[in-house]
Symmetry: C2
Subunit: 241 residues, 2 copies
């Protein structure tokens, strides 16, 4: 808080800088409203001071971090519960409110659909190898994140297996030691909650073109991003002289 | 070994499949020749059997995994030491040899150059914020990999700091708690050993266009991959109806 106050004093002395607001960001994938309320409570007095001091001060950005449901049993933070906690404080402040609920808006709006290449038994373990990989969805490997796996065609039962991609490293997994829908070659599976930190973190690792993005509106569907081709991989390349 | 023999017997019964070779891959970034010799020794008898049984059998792929030097004190595996261990076995086999020393060839042929945006002191810690990020080189975050950091302009001394990128998450680091070259705003720094698993794993996370690739030949240099632009980020996108 002291450093912020100091930064404001510095900014106030600059002829071309206006102090218009303050930004708060307390973390990611938070599933309770209380931390937001606590942080905002801390900020509130400070906002009052800044508002009194600088007539240009008019925004409070309450940041992102609203958690979503990645798996059954996980209780997402409801907008209502969130509002109930933060609105009383915000109302008193009388500032324009900015917020960044990106994951909340798009996280559960998309699934990653993949096709089973084959089912491999290696001693005690079963691997379901699909045509999606860590280059398409790196969250499981990067953050040990959980994405539910659903069968696209209704299947009976589950089996214990790893869901893995075809990339040449042991870290190429999408789900580890999970009860997966019993799947056969050519079955389609869907990884849920792929709308946030999915495509945006996708790479061309192993020379894999990135997948298409399809928007579904009721019974209509639209390609909203073309599937990449080999040409996209080498477009920027130039052979010297 | 039993499963491989079984697979070969199955393959031998298929009219359009030829058994031409065997592939061995024991891991990555291996810094001693002995594991290769040990594995090859295990494989050798088996190769002999397959060669005797199937006249089409003529290749042994001894895989990749030859380690390189990522930091001072780490002793890279020399081609000579490697050859001394594997050649005696390979010679006896009388097969064509295939190998995959990708990282060994390109890993230390490239550096990632970045520019210091600012140096930030946060209580006890110092952060050097540069314009490269985890989307450009994800190995430090993904594998806790070490890449040396060198000053492009000669600087005096080092300071203890984290080298971080401008991406909106705490995992966006390139080097943690390291003695970094004393750097100021606008200084250029080079991350070494960026030739393997660097650009190929780069993403457009945070809407960051991927960097240019420059080939340097003595005093000449060539852009061999154009820096991406905003246009590259949205090229594939289509607004529905």
């Amino acid at each position: 808080m002291e450093r912020v106050a100091k930064a404001c004093r510095t900014a106030a002395g600059l002829p071309n800088v206006e102090i218009v607001g303050i930004h708060m960001h307390i973390g990611s994938q938070i599933l309770s409203a209380q931390p937001f309320a606590d942080a905002l409570q801390k900020l509130a007095g400070f906002c009052g001071e800044l508002k009194a001091k600088y007539h240009s001060f008019r925004y409070v950005d309450i940041g992102g971090g609203i958690g979503i449901q990645y798996q059954a049993g996980q209780k997402p933070l409801s907008p209502k519960a969130y509002a109930a906690k933060v609105m009383p404080v915000l109302k008193r402040l009388g500032l324009s409110v900015v917020m960044e609920p990106g994951r909340y808006l798009v996280g559960n709006s998309a699934v990653l659909v993949c096709r089973v290449q084959y089912v491999k038994h290696n001693g005690k373990k079963t691997f379901v190898v699909v045509d999606a990989a860590m280059n398409d969805l790196i969250r499981p490997m990067l953050y040990e994140a959980h994405h539910d796996v659903l069968p696209v065609m209704r299947r009976k039962g589950v089996f214990r297996a790893d869901l893995v991609g075809p990339i040449c490293e042991s870290g190429d997994f999408l789900a580890l030691d999970r009860d997966l829908p019993v799947a056969e070659e050519n079955d389609l599976l869907a990884l849920t909650s792929a709308g946030a930190y999915g495509f945006t973190m996708a790479s061309n690792y192993n020379s894999r073109p990135r997948p298409a993005e399809i928007m579904v509106d009721e019974k209509q569907s639209f390609v909203v991003r073309k599937r990449e081709t080999w040409k996209d991989l080498v477009r920027g390349e130039i052979l010297p002289g």
